[in-house]
């Protein structure tokens, strides 16, 4: 909901190919600071590939990613994580052997830096650091209302809660941009409402810029400030929900007409 509309991230002319398969073809769009940006499109349109390009898991053959006003050099995912980009996954990618609090603590990994020696003694700086980050994690856990499952191994949690723990883990990174890959897939209406509320809360309270992929059009049109539509790797439309909804190309390719 930024008034000044400053661009925090811009992708320019991205081309991504896997052998002969063209996943993304000459796509450009930008993300304003503090907005909720949705990426929609039919299956196989290149939405997840786009997120993978943004957080460095795929390296596009051509194109540039501009972040914070600078052109980003080619980096590995763990280096990009350091620049302040966090994400959740379409298929939940939690650390199943760990509890909720431990999973959220992993989000603080990059902010912790005490060396092996102090870690071995778990005394002095190492424990201070642990306590300090634990405090922030507990705040996020409170914020997302998952305190009752703090010490439950995440593998045994229901689907909706797992999605929420994953959001908590991404938030623990204090990201500048949060990428959400289908945060509401497979949820019932009530869970979708909860999740939407959390996404808006995160956006408004922490001021986090959010880019999300979602198939539920009602949710997308309500949440998003601006929408990008992809189809067969190409950019089909870009604009406010109202503009996109009335775009004939988008209706033909994806939205369809109500019967």
């Amino acid at each position: 909901m930024s008034e000044k509309n400053s661009v925090i991230m811009e992708v320019k002319n991205i081309n991504l190919r896997f052998g002969g398969v063209i996943a993304i073809q000459n796509v450009s769009f930008n993300i304003f600071e503090g907005e909720i940006r949705a990426i929609i499109g039919p299956n196989g349109a290149g939405k997840s590939s786009m997120l993978n390009v943004i957080n460095g898991f795929y390296h596009p053959q051509e194109g540039e990613v501009w972040f914070n006003g600078e052109k980003r050099p080619s980096m590995e995912p763990y280096q990009i994580a350091k620049t302040g980009i966090a994400r959740t996954f379409q298929n939940i990618a939690l650390f199943k052997g760990m509890t909720t609090i431990e999973n959220v603590m992993t989000g603080r990994q990059l902010k912790m830096n005490k060396n092996f020696f102090w870690q071995m003694l778990r005394y002095g700086p190492a424990i201070d650091e642990e306590v300090q980050h634990r405090r922030r994690c507990e705040e996020i856990i409170d914020f997302l209302e998952i305190n009752h499952i703090r010490k439950t191994p995440v593998g045994s949690l229901p689907y909706g809660l797992q999605k929420r723990v994953e959001l908590a883990r991404a938030l623990a990174m204090d990201p500048k941009i949060l990428l959400l890959d289908e945060p509401m897939a497979g949820m019932n209406v009530e869970e979708k409402q909860d999740m939407s509320r959390f996404i808006i809360d995160v956006n408004e309270e922490f001021g986090t810029t959010i880019a999300l992929i979602e198939h539920d059009m009602a949710v997308v049109m309500d949440l998003a400030d601006r929408v990008v539509v992809l189809d067969y790797g190409k950019l089909l439309a870009d604009g406010t929900p109202a503009e996109v909804q009335s775009n004939q190309a988008v209706i033909d390719a994806y939205l369809g007409v109500p019967h």
Binding site: F95, M98, L110, Q119, M173
Partner: protein, 362 residues
Amino acid sequence: MFYRETGQFKSKYKEELAAFPLAEDKVGIAILLVIAYVFIPIFGIPGLSFEFTMGAIMIPVFIFTITTLGLNILLGFAGQISLGTGAFMGVGAYSCYKIMTIFPDLNIIICVILSGFVTAIVGMIFGLPSLKIKGFYLIVATLAAQFFLEWAFIRVAWLYNYNDSGGIEGTNKEMFGLIVSGPQSDALTRYFIVLTLLVLLTWLASNVIRGRIGRSWMMIRDMDIAAELIGVRPLTAKLSAFAFSSFYIGISGALMVFFWLGAAEVESFDVSHSFTYLFMVIIGGLGSITGSYMGAALVWVIPVLIKEIGKTAFGFDAFVMENFSIIFLGVAIVVILIVEPHGLARLWQITKQKLRLWPFPY
């Protein structure tokens, strides 16, 4: 009734992050330490001779617990499988032997710890394939390490100082005027040294796995792609796990030769031993420190006790009992894994959970 967290309130995160947040656990650990440090040295294990208790049960179990801890860090916490444990113990033993030859006046404990560092470097080198390959393919790569190192222990005569026997042998080593290692050392002295090292290493391991580095290992184990996107560098996480694990395995190898066997040849480090250590970890429970203790104790003690009982109570031939103990151990492994695939540690956890609710079923 006896094991409750009710009423034990924590008002600081630091208190909750303690090694044993529950008062009952603190008491339990204190009792175990008193038994290990006072009771067993004075009274031994009832029904068994003191010599047997020390030489055949306590010292080897403690040494193998260190091995199991090391392998568990790699396999249970970092998720990288290795079949080279036997050979890495050999690296510890041979490098300790070489360090003792080069610096004859160096304190033996320092030699043992230095040999741990040497093994850590070797382990890191053989851990390099883990950056590219996983699972079964990594087993094959570590198996190659096992065979290569075994070959080196036979062919590189420099490692055993060109002696005719081809083995390595401990000499009497003194510390504070006390013979602590070698043929004339007292079993009780060696027992205390091995026990103290075990306690120390357990404490360090439990600290590391609960902190940032331990978490990075578990992240790689559970979901390596997500770990990378959160900012864990796979290279650092995997190689540090290999190094830390090999450090423990190397120390246990050096202890095995110089504080227990007294002398060793390449057969003490062959692949069948690697499998035994793997059994210890799996039966004890992957990713559990308590499990490492239980696994090492069970897999080592059951055959030893069966042999001893057969010999003294029934007068069976040692050779017959040897086979019988192998059968029994095999059956025990199968039964335990069917009853509880997550090992003894999980059984212990379930017991604790039941104790918390006792006398109510749920």
